[in-house]
Amino acid sequence: MALKIVKGSIDRMFDKNLQDLVRGIRNHKEDEAKYISTCIDEIKQELKQDNIAVKANAVCKLTYLQMLGYDVSWAAFNIVEVMSSSKFTYKRIGYLAASQCFHESTDVIMLTTNQIRKDLSSPNQYDTGVALTGLSCFVTPDLARDLANDIMTLMSHTKPYIRKKAVLIMYKVFLKYPESLRPAFPRLKEKLEDPDPGVQSAAVNVICELARRNPKNYLSLAPLFFKLMTSSTNNWVLIKIIKLFGALTPLEPRLGKKLIEPLTNLIHSTSAMSLLYECVNTVIAVLISLSSGMPNHSASIQVSFSRHAHTFSLKYLGLLAMSKILKTHPKSVQSHKDLILQCLDDKDESIRLRALDLLYGMVSKKNLMEIVKKLMLHVDKAEGTTYRDELLTKIIDICSQSNYQYITNFEWYISILVELTRLEGTRHGHLIASQMLDVAIRVKAIRAFAVAQMATLLDNAHLLTGNTQRNGICEVLYAAAWICGEFSEHLEEPMVTLEAMLRPKVATLPGHIQAVYVQNAAKLFATVLRGHEGVPADSMVAQETSQLLIDRLPLFVQSSNLEVQERASCILQLVKYIQKLQQKDVEVAEEVTALFAGELNPVAPKAQKKVPVPEGLDLDVWINEPPSGSESEDEGRKSKGKAVFAKEESRHTKPRYTEVDEKELAKRREVRKAEQANNPFYIKASPSSQKVRRDGVGVEHIPVVQIDLSVPLKVPGMPMSDQYVKLEEERRERNKADKKKKKDKKKREKGEKGRRRRGDSGPESEEDITPAHMVDIVTEEMPEVGIYTWSLPHWTFSLPLSESTARHLNPCLFPSQKSSTHKKKKQKKEKKKKKHHHNHSDGAGDESVQNGTVEEEEPLPVSNQSPFTLSINPCPLCQIPVCDIQGNLQDGSQVVVSVIFENKCDSFIKSMEFNVLDSLNSKLQRPDGAGPHDGLIVPFQLPPGISNEARFIFSVQNIVMPQKLKGTLTFIVKTDDSSTHEKLDFKLHFTCTSYLITTPCYSDAYSKLLESGDLKGCSLKLEGVNQPFHHLLARICFHHHFSVVERIDSCASMYSRSIQGHHMCLLVKTADQTVSIDAKCDEPGLLGNVLDEIKLTFSQC
């Protein structure tokens, strides 16, 4: 025996140890693989020996080889042998090897259970420690199940070293064996208060990991963590806890308020940047969860943080944090625009990409051009196509976001797109192309300009197509050709463009682009013919054009692409035929143009789905007899044109019908369906937030509203986008100047803005910047049926607004108040009304109903010129510009009034108290315990220039009568050296209309309602109403919250419902400027008042 041991040690002396192995490998750089394979053979020999020391040495070397990428799983059993050695040295080697190469499918693991259990209960704490460390790496569900109890016992071990390891490994056990969580959790929670900081830290780690998966369940631990946060000095623990709080605050806002103070303390006291950063991060999360009211706070923190951003890592993290703030407080981030733009110059790609991400959320109408200009510079400078492509997509994303919301000048955007085409080797040609198409189709005013640009592009096509093989940019030619063809009436020299489109070089383009070229050449041909026919001198030109096509088209007829070939041969024959006619001096232009007649309208992709199939309609059955032969030919030809050019034909067919009956309606739907199915230019709209099913009523009645705006500036040639930046500035200056003239009329404008676009950016409001072009946009809130267009919510109106309209809109004006403050409001209302035009007037749309409440705006007039302010405080103080009164559907007796407060003076305003003198019928809801005359404290203070919203709930018993409530607002104005107590009076006006909620109604339900006989009638006649019927309907819909159930000619039925569930039905007829309204309602008093209000509306227009 002794001899054997001696022999073993002698053997060992000749064996290589780890150091020898490493040295050997380093000495055999040339034939490393070969050397290692001999070493592995040696190791295999060593593993066969009985001596555990030799085996351990071999396993140690294997661990090293494993790191170099060699599979050592064949030695798994030997590893287990070494693990079970009684000596700590070897045990440690064994466990290390196991932790590096064992995993769940290693079969020898199941042999280890007992060995590990033995080690866990070893009297030597390091044996236990090593076993725990190893186990943490290779624990399997079986091991977790079998050892969970042993480990749980260890959590209360006397030695903190064991305790902390046992606590930490529990997380792994939970992952593999979730059933253990419940019994172990109380003990784990106990460990949060362990006297040893290491154990505490381990417990925090485990619970933070658990909470990250499911934060809700760990809210109850918040007080415990809060205590730890204020007592612990271990930065790691603090970071973990603070991160955890960051995840918990969105779930429990009350937590946030408590956290602010200790976090602020930590921010000021800690010297560790890592802890500081996490504190700031969580403060951001807290502020976000507390939402409005504190944008300044987060801004100040942000500033202090970005000031630290001198080191590069912090810069990155600062940008990361900003993106969090951006989501809720774009304003505070936007003020750091310059800093972020600087980051684009950073040489670090991590930082550049982060900055790009931020820019997307930061653009506004005001800075879009500037930002894009900077980005364009970067595009030029950028090396590496990946980053450049990233920039390109970002530019397009930024510009096109939310339906081109921020673009004020589309000429500029087209120029940007054209400039982007000069990028070499980009993969995103199709992206640019689709943007060009989208803009040209939807922005009607831009078409002439776009066509001119596209013609230039086509003319210079050779610049783009340097090498078509790997160049995606030639995709833009697809768009260019289509735009030039489709809107060829805007071309100044169609001949030149036609020539450019038929150059032999075109044949090298990809097939689908050639096909578009050929088809659009035909369109151009039609345009040329129309331009030149009839004038004798020009007929030569027309014939030359035909000849040009006949000469050039055969090239395409030979194309290997089917589509190109087919279209080319078709058109070639057509042109030949036309030529024959031309030679006989027959005028053909009219007929050729008819091939491509019709206009394109954008349609939301989901519009079709919303057209319900009427009952009893079988879509597969002929509705009329199949059309006769000649007609079908005609149809066939047209529909072919449509498939290619996406024509909208419904408007042509419309006038044919004078009377509409169900059958015809159904037929039209059928036709429309077919058309839309063929229409490739269904414009995408974002997913609808709410779908209200409606009865489909004649789409044909939907007026397609055209908004014609003049294109302000014509820039000849190929303009650089930079020019536009300048032009745009000038335009804005002009606008601003115009506005100043009207300033006296718009003193309260600011408050209005705050109401409309809270949280919006820039010291100069977005509202001041009026877009130069309109986009025809089909937004998400489409009416269920039909094709219609409307434009962005930020448009401007040229509609003249009369004072009387204003008076109507603000029936509850203070006697002393001039309409000046309502100028803006009036405009806004007008906008809203206009929007309703599009849908309400035809009974199709009903988008204002959301979540069952309807918004109505009753201005709450508080004059900024109220005498006391003027006399006491020299600066004008504006308080309550707007309030909303909303019926609460959940509770038929409640009305929610939202009031926007804005501080327009230079002093701080605090302690605001809102009070209303209750009437018998309407009461302000006060908290329990408050007296009936107590005011409500407005839960915020207002620094200068800040606005905020507060909501007040009123309970209303009787909705039959309109009512007015008087109220006062008291507040303290605090200046540097003094503070004064002030008061403002106002009136709240609840009209009967404000109790109505726009509710859709199906026509069958409607007729049942009328038949039921529960409703009492009443009627009204309006004389001298001089406006189109659909405007009239829109007016009723908008001002009085009705929806159109059905409309036939000059007669329409309308419906609405009160918050208390009264049905109200109207039958509106018009003839010779006289409108008669027959109304029915189950509450005659309410009906009478609503009719009076309707009468008032029309008497004032």
Binding site: R26, L68, F88, L96, T133, G198, N235, S274, L317, D348
Partner: protein, 154 residues
């Protein structure tokens, strides 16, 4: 959670690899190579964070690294870890190595990778941070080494 800890030199030679999730040996080598590729082409004066270590766990994970002389220390972590916290941890790790090896250099790591593993095991266990206090780590490492020596003497 820490997903992996890698140490490699300026040429991409691995000096220590510790994966807290199982990968095959080939994948591990590929991860090391790609990580080296990503990290090595970055300037000295840029931030210590890299997104898009696609191999380990995907986009949620970040690479946090420090470069000391000839060695890169790279931690691959998920979003539950504080970026700056991990940077501090790397610093603690390196300082601990420095204490244990007395002026640590790359050669120490090359020849004593097992010892580096033992030190690391006192700091990070199964992907979770066990101890950040350097003195505590050194105490435990020393105690274990002492035990090892006493066993050898036997």
């Amino acid at each position: 959670m820490i997903k992996a800890i890698l140490i490699f030199n300026n040429h991409g030679k691995p000096r220590l690899s510790k994966f807290y999730e199982h990968y095959s040996e080939d994948t591990e080598q590929q991860i090391i190579r790609e990580t080296f590729h990503l990290v090595s082409k970055r300037d000295e004066n840029v931030c210590n964070f890299l997104e898009g270590g696609m191999l380990i766990g995907g986009s949620e994970n970040k690479l946090i690294y420090r470069h000391y002389a000839t060695l890169y220390f790279v931690f691959c972590v998920d979003s539950s870890e504080s970026e700056l916290g991990i940077l501090d941890l790397i610093q603690v790790f390196v300082e601990t190595l420095d204490k244990c090896f007395e002026n640590v250099c790359e050669l120490d790591l090359i020849f004593h990778v097992d010892k580096v593993h033992n030190i690391l095991a006192e700091m990070v266990m199964g992907g979770m941070v066990l101890e950040t206090n350097m003195n505590e780590i050194i105490t435990q490492v020393d105690a274990q080494n002492k035990m090892e020596k006493s066993e050898v003497r036997l």
